[in-house]
Symmetry: D3
């Protein structure tokens, strides 16, 4: 993990943009780990920043979708950090509970559809 | 697949509830396949109906989360049917594009976090 | 896909063992595809034959476990072929329905456990 | 995590049913975590109780299928708790070893089938 | 799917870069589908182009790694297209067979490690 | 976990072969855990040894493919041990960074292909 004080100019430029964009003074471990490979750090941050901007979907909805994927992939780090991010954007306990219920149910019916080998309906093609 | 006309009373009761709840005259293949095991049909429908009701999250947000999970699991049937359902609830092309961008990015960073073996930050524990 | 008539001696030896072990006259597509790389064909068949023999678990239980994994991985070929194999060993409609119900539920609670970031209980360590 | 002593009436009713059904005096962490969202707690417990009852499949077989799915999904909590549950229902070391062997092999051949892009045999459709 | 002739200027600029970079006259379906959301098309292509360039790893090795991931995720489209791409870069039948053998084995031992709940050795931390 | 000193003759024979083949004096935890079921230990070691031998692909390439799969499956133990193994065979920081970039990207585009429901091009069939 590369700390801010040890960072090369290339890495520090990304760290500074993270701090400014997020209006924070904290670089989380994910970025410090990616800094081991600066092109991956820069590319990942720039893509993430662009994708998570407000657009047709609002930032909280995007964070909850991010969390739904992270839970489905069983990524412990991502589940922890995106739960925090979604709460920071306004996700309440009730919203979290409903989100988890939908994620759990989707995982269940995904397997039922595959297990019963359901063919796609003509109207959904 | 059990068609409406062939359905037992137990199965038909579920089909009727699907038709009434969704205000449609169409039973999609997923339910016709699950009807091979009536307790699973009934339980799955009742749980799904309850989870997808409006609550702290609106139905469109729930459908997009459902779709995010289905895509992440690579479930073809579920991706097709929940894309249709989300569009039916108002998902535009622009929203679909942003949803896919978030889903793709989350799948990428989930693997980067696991691959670089990133430890959870103290503040996210 | 390598058909029996075109098979090299090395491949044919495996095919003959499949036919004799399974008391069938049919080589399914999986083996014909693997025959493109004979060492993988031989190793896979020999390991599979050994693992699926009766032991502390009976062959039907093993087939149902195989099917549970295949459904969870969303492998269409494997779901189709192991559903057939389990039925051939005695899986009834009722058993299939209960198997799918357990597989679906396990996929749901797996995600709930990850999503709520549940710590392992002291007694399960 | 909601402890028994802090639980609301709604949550305590579920806890009491878990204790009575399982003839135990221990609520494991999974349920204490789900209690953060009582409707998800209640629904999950009721569905699980119903699915894991003896039926066409016996409870030990159901637990081993549950474990096979949990291992395949890489769910650490679920693997730990369902290994304990299966042992509690009579899974021996030998049965556990064979179960893991089948799970490992199924994961291997699932990928081989997908990687060699094997088409489903006519007879399995 | 957006064909070249129907493409907006923004989409056509990406298509032209794909054709020039790959020295081909063929746009494959993946890009035509992504063109439904031009920012995702452009970002995905630019990132992919940059990542797949020769670097510390040669392009064939990168393609085989891409294929290994695609097979593990059970992505049918990706397995088909990256098998073709790897063959185009020199992957022989023998290399393909060994690649699949490693992918299959890794999937098997991943589950065994999770199933036996193996703790990370001190020296690998 | 079965230590060398406690191992039965059957287990010790495998341990001795691991030590000799790898020219090391260290048995890692994976094998000590598998030793709980000696047939799985022996079969897994023998298959792994055979698959990871130099062939059409060199051992470092095989290790990186192994790592790509392990990261994609989110297997923490396997990611730690195969990162170490790949480094032992010559993987540099730069190669590791590029490997992770490809793995991340492949996971992203796998989901985009599934999410946009891209049909396989005629020429890739």
């Amino acid at each position: 993990m590369i700390e801010y004080a040890q960072a090369s100019d290339e890495v520090r430029a990304v760290y500074d943009d993270i701090l400014a964009t997020r209006k924070t003074d904290y670089i989380n471990n994910f970025w410090k780990a990616l800094a081991a490979h600066p092109p991956t750090l820069r590319r990942t941050w720039e893509t993430l920043k662009s994708i998570m901007e407000p657009g047709a979907l609002d930032p909280l909805t995007k964070e909850m979708i991010y969390l739904a994927v992270s839970v489905t992939n069983g990524c412990g780090y991502c589940t922890a950090s995106h739960t925090a991010a979604a709460r920071g954007r306004g996700m309440t306990d009730e919203m979290h509970g409903e989100l988890m219920a939908v994620v759990g149910m989707a995982n269940e019916t995904n397997r039922l559809a595959d297990g019963f080998r359901v063919e796609v309906d003509e109207r959904y093609r």
